[in-house]
Amino acid sequence: MADTLDTVAAQPALPLGPRPQIVMKNIFAPGIDQIETYRKHGGYQALEKALRQFQPDELLEEVKKSGLRGRGGAGFATGMKWSFLPPQSPKPRYLCVNCDESEPGTFKDRMLMELNPHQLVEGAIITSYATKVHHAFIYVRGELALAGRQVERAIREAYEAGFIGKNILGSGFDLEMTISRGAGAYICGEESALLESLEGKRGYPRLKPPFPAVVGLYGGPTVINNCETVATVPAIVTLGADTYGAYGTEKSKGTRIFCLSGHVQRPGNYELPLGTPMRTLIEDYGGGMRNGKKLKAIIPGGSSTFILGPDKLDTPLDFESVAAAGSMLGSGGVIVLDEDTCIVGAVLRMTEFYRDESCGKCTPCREGTFWLVQLLERLEHGDGKASDIDLLNDICDNISGKSFCPLGDAATSSITSSIKLFRDEYLHHVYAHGCLVGPHAKPAPATARETNQSRQSTPVGAR
């Protein structure tokens, strides 16, 4: 197996043995963003293989067999998603590649687009072929200017080389591809808001059903896949579903890119087989905690996922295991917090993000995040009340499951999970009028300290 898989030469040497490089294969090769270099490294051979050796339906089966699941956050089976497109439709069908990567803690798509845009383009062409789409859109987050330019150029080069356009490689398959730049809204990463944005409208999520597979872009059946998902497709074609699917666990197959960030020695993107323990990622690849600090909390899948405590460090990074640990694998953005991090401050910062990025369509998310931020602000600044903590929980309950799209739920994850794990720290803010740790730390008053030690949820002073 090692014969077919390369180790990355250009990446800084790690004190570890070879690891599979599938999506990130060749990504650090100089000039790989140029079509000639990309082709020298075997680029567009997967496309040729797909067009010559597979019928679209066979290709779809192959991807189903590989076990590839969406890399955007929800982890839905990719082949299954493709098969939801109705076989007959009066309107044209479309592919939209979701490159609106804006989940805090996630930065893999950006790297893929900036360093190796042709792999994404090739994946998009193969995906279009498999789903019988003749117009593909790549929606790139507006802030990622370089990524946008790189993808744009890659598309242009692919057109010139005849990989996009009429009768690609003599196969009779036609495809147009368009890049569209977002205007800077987190919500546009939600697939239906992305469609609205692509259509030139305000980024509001759409009512489902109908799902995009049935009524999507311009009313046509639409398949929407994450950037990394699409960029994985060429490798599946090259390696075959079985080889790819041999990585990972039974239900979470293959590899994925984990974006390691926070208080670790070597933050960065690491492609690892699914099921790799979190400890391996953080300690072996990430080099462990910075400045010898202790681990306080892990956010395993981007800021929308529930915070886990250090006791979950050995959780394997696959969809099922992380769910069992009480969180979600999400977008693969692993954020590591050390012992000096004020949890209320961190949660406040994340909640501010959700308040600012709420699209404002539905009441709970629009008004609820506004309220949550105000409460967290006063807690963080030492002006909160003990009852605010339960109020936070109840507001989260009124948002979660009641908002229009999953963004409302996402805004509550860090709050409810942090209160569960760190209620004492919240209470400390109330009674000490300041943080427990960090630059604004204040010592706890005597009574509250006793209360904290007795681990009661309602302190005496609150009555």
Partner: protein, 780 residues
């Protein structure tokens, strides 16, 4: 007639209910009378699901469902009263209120505010929000008539969605995002829609308020009466909101077949005339002859004077010497009494109204009315606007055309001037003003010359087709291009489109028939529709868009010199005998003088009801008016004509009387008195009754309802009409008495569209429609 709708059975809070397939849970609950609170949802717009207010629990669904977006399914079990539902609703209300000012005591919406009401019924009694609310500058204008109070906005998007999806125009938009979301106007696109008032009515809170209504009343002080708008020929159903002696606004009283739940700004707010301080409050007479001043007089004095002078003149010069100019604003009952007064009381056919005579009527005796209906527009594949401007003149028809466009209809705007529908039209054709008739003939030329005729009528009436071919043989689009500066190719293409259409509706403005080229416009377009088989079914037809609220009713009621009520020629002895039988009178057989003839010295005494001919009279006509022996004017104001009158009688507005109006698509609707008549003034029917009595006629009518009953006997196309039978939503003529309802309520069989056979037989028999409709069988 309608296809059997498939019903779905479900239970809500244990109560079974059946609703049409595809309904949302909210509609089913509505049917049961179970309140499910809503903000963003509006029954006339697509579900949005944004406000998260209408949560219900549905068995087997893991999360709470929103009742406005969840479609019912067979056997569904819905609960609106579980603790989870209550908590979710309370949560949403608490969220909405954290940034909503508690300024209800000074808010115009207070008392009819959904946020207030739902908080009372579904909300928490206290808020846990102890921080500072958002604050904005208090009202900022978003249009000439509407103010926005951003603090009060709950971002339900109803207004924005109305502008974008219903009116399909620029207007209100959402600005910013998240908690900074606010309603705003695009700086490059002012909110100057004719439909803007709907957003005020739709706003569930006091965020959008009408300038004219701010701080003038509280909702509970209003007396609300269901009636019909009197501002144009559409006849939208309204609720007239009156405070003591002022109409403060008209709100929509949804009638799906006419207004679809919307009103235009004119209908909603243009109420100045009713509330004017300039209105006449007492009869005026000239006691000292022609050159004396008009002086207040009692009703008795005035009526006696009129009767004496009218008798004098008719005894001296006969009925031919007196004439009456009626109104397109008064009710059917009043128009009917007016012509009856002249025909039966004074032995004169000299009755007419402005725009009363139409050349088409002369040619074939047809009432050239809209053969289809407003609602039918939605079924049309093509809509042709010829020389009309519905946006300004019949706004709610324009709005329905927009709905048809959303449904896939292609609209062709053929007008001399730019039109608000241009932007949405498939084709836009311009021509020189005054040449509408030329355009119509060119269309007919293409259809006949290129053998594009089709359908039953063209086949069975080939003689008519041959005649047409000859009469329009010279009127090619190319010739029209020379005369009217029109794009010949586009016109030719349009004719072919009409001929090939699944269903085309051709609408023209009644004023276009008065143009020099318009003499045969109505007849030509009728033939165009008949010969291309665009007739006789919903979504296919032809007709004029009329000017005033009762333009059609005035004609239906025989406010015409040559036509008895129901379009029977006065020369028709049988018709005269029939009507004379009802009236117990002998009717004159000679056609009377027209509007212009009466104004040009054709009569010695002129009685003007609800019209103002002096406002646009020629100098000769003014001289003739001044030379009249007797000029009686019955009006709300001292108009230019009234200033010349011998006797002026104060009349009341449509909000102060009962009656019926007939709208531009033949729908007869009940108008209800919404307020006390202005002291000193009387309804036109009362005045006419007074004049008749003073003349010695035995008119015993106690109410407009009695007059309407007589109309039902005297007018074949209105056969069987009564206020009860017309009900809340009216009926389209020709009418026939239908089978009584189970509760004994009389019913009417309405005619949603006219067929060519109905029109043709109508010609032969003077629209003995009663027989006609009965002949085509019940239940069709």
């Amino acid at each position: 007639m309608a296809e059997q709708e498939e019903l779905v059975n479900l239970t809500i809070d244990g109560q079974p209910v059946s609703v049409p397939k595809g309904s949302v849970i909210w509609a089913a609950a509505q049917k049961l009378g179970i309140e499910v609170p809503i903000y963003c949802y509006h029954p006339k717009m697509e579900p949005l699901g944004a406000c998260r207010m209408c949560f219900v629990a549905v068995e087997k669904m893991p999360k709470l469902a929103t009742a406005c977006t969840t479609v019912v399914s067979e056997g569904m079990v819905v609960r609106t009263d579980t603790p989870a539902v209550k908590k979710a609703r309370q949560g949403t209300l608490e969220f909405l209120l954290i940034n909503h000012p508690l300024d209800c005591p000074i808010c115009d919406k207070g008392g009819e505010c959904d946020l207030q009401d739902f908080t009372l019924r579904h909300g928490p009694s206290a808020s846990r929000f102890d921080l500072s609310k958002r604050h904005f500058q208090k009202p900022i204008p978003v249009s000439e008539n509407i103010l926005l109070d951003r603090e009060r906005c709950i971002a339900c998007q109803r207004c924005m969605r109305f502008c974008q999806t219903v009116a399909m125009e620029d207007g209100l938009v959402m600005e910013e995002r998240g908690f900074r979301t606010e309603i705003g106007v695009n700086p490059d696109a002012p909110f100057d829609s004719n439909f803007s008032g709907n957003v005020v009515e739709m706003c569930p809170v006091g965020a959008l308020t009408a300038k004219s209504y701010r701080f003038v009343t509280r909702p509970w002080e209003l007396q609300k009466t269901g009636s019909v708008c009197g501002n144009c020929a559409v006849g939208c159903n309204v609720r007239v909101d009156v405070r003591v002696d002022k109409v403060l606004r008209q709100y929509s009283r949804t009638n799906d077949s006419i207004d679809d739940g919307w009103l235009c700004d004119r209908g909603r707010w243009d109420l100045d005339a009713i509330n004017s301080l300039e209105r006449l409050r007492t009869p005026l007479i000239r006691k000292g002859g022609k050159n004396s001043e008009l002086q207040p007089a009692s009703w008795d004095e005035a009526l006696t004077l009129i009767a004496t002078r009218l008798r004098e003149i008719t005894e001296r010069d006969g009925g031919r010497a007196v004439g009456g100019i009626g109104s397109t604003h008064t009710t059917n009952e009043e128009a009917y009494l007016f012509q009856k007064l002249f025909r039966a009381g004074l032995g004169s056919n000299n009755v007419d109204h402005r725009h009363g005579r139409f050349p088409a009527t002369e040619r074939n005796g047809l009432p050239w009315v809209w053969s289809d209906s407003i609602a039918g527009l939605e079924k049309a594949s093509h809509i042709v606007i010829l020389g009309a401007d519905p946006y300004h003149r019949q706004p709610i028809v324009d709005l329905r055309i927009r709905k048809a466009i959303r449904g896939g209809a292609q609209v062709y705007v053929v007008t001399p001037e730019p039109n608000r529908l241009d932007r949405l039209a498939t084709g836009v054709i311009r021509y020189q003003a005054g040449q509408t008739g030329t355009i119509a003939r060119a269309l007919l030329n293409v259809v006949t010359a290129e053998n594009l005729t089709r359908g039953d009528f063209a086949e069975k009436r080939s003689a008519s087709l041959d005649a047409r071919r000859t009469t329009v043989a010279q009127d090619t689009p190319e010739r029209a291009a020379e005369i009217a500066g029109v794009d010949a190719a586009a016109l030719r293409e349009l004719a072919r489109e009409i001929a090939g259409a699944k269903g085309a509706v051709i609408l023209y403005d009644e004023m276009a028939t008065l143009e020099p080229t318009g003499a045969n416009l109505a007849a030509d377009l009728l033939d165009l529709a008949l010969l291309t088989d665009n007739f006789g079914r919903p979504g296919a037809g032809v007709g004029p868009l009329l000017e005033d609220n009762n333009s059609l009713g005035a004609r239906d009621m025989g406010l015409l010199p040559d036509t008895l009520p129901g379009y029977r020629p006065v020369s028709d002895a049988a018709a005269r005998a029939a009507l004379g039988g009802v009236w117990n009178a002998t009717l004159p057989s000679e056609p009377g003088k027209s509007y212009d003839e009466m104004l040009s010295g054709g009569v010695k005494a002129l009685y003007v009801m609800g019209a103002n001919p002096a406002s646009d009279a020629t100098p000769q006509q003014l001289a003739a008016l001044n030379a009249l022996e007797l000029l009686v004017v019955q009006d709300m104001f001292l108009t230019e004509t009234a200033k010349r009158a011998t006797v002026v009688l104060p009349a009341v507005a449509y909000t102060e009387k009962d009656g019926t109006f007939t709208n531009t698509e033949r729908c007869v609707q009940v108008v209800r008195r919404a307020m006390q008549p202005l002291p000193g003034a009387k309804a036109d029917w009362e005045i006419l009754r007074g004049v008749a009595r003073a003349l010695g006629l035995h008119w015993a009518y106690l109410s407009p309802a009695e007059i309407l009953k007589e109309i039902g006997r005297a007018t074949p196309i209105y056969a069987g009409v009564t206020r009860r039978a017309l009900g809340d939503s009216g009926a389209r003529w020709p009418l026939v008495p239908g089978e009584r309802a189970a509760d004994g309520r009389p019913a009417l069989q309405s005619s949603p569209y006219l067929t060519w056979q109905m029109v043709e037989q109508g010609v032969a028999r003077g629209i003995a429609a009663g027989e006609l409709v009965a002949g085509r069988g019940r239940g069709e």
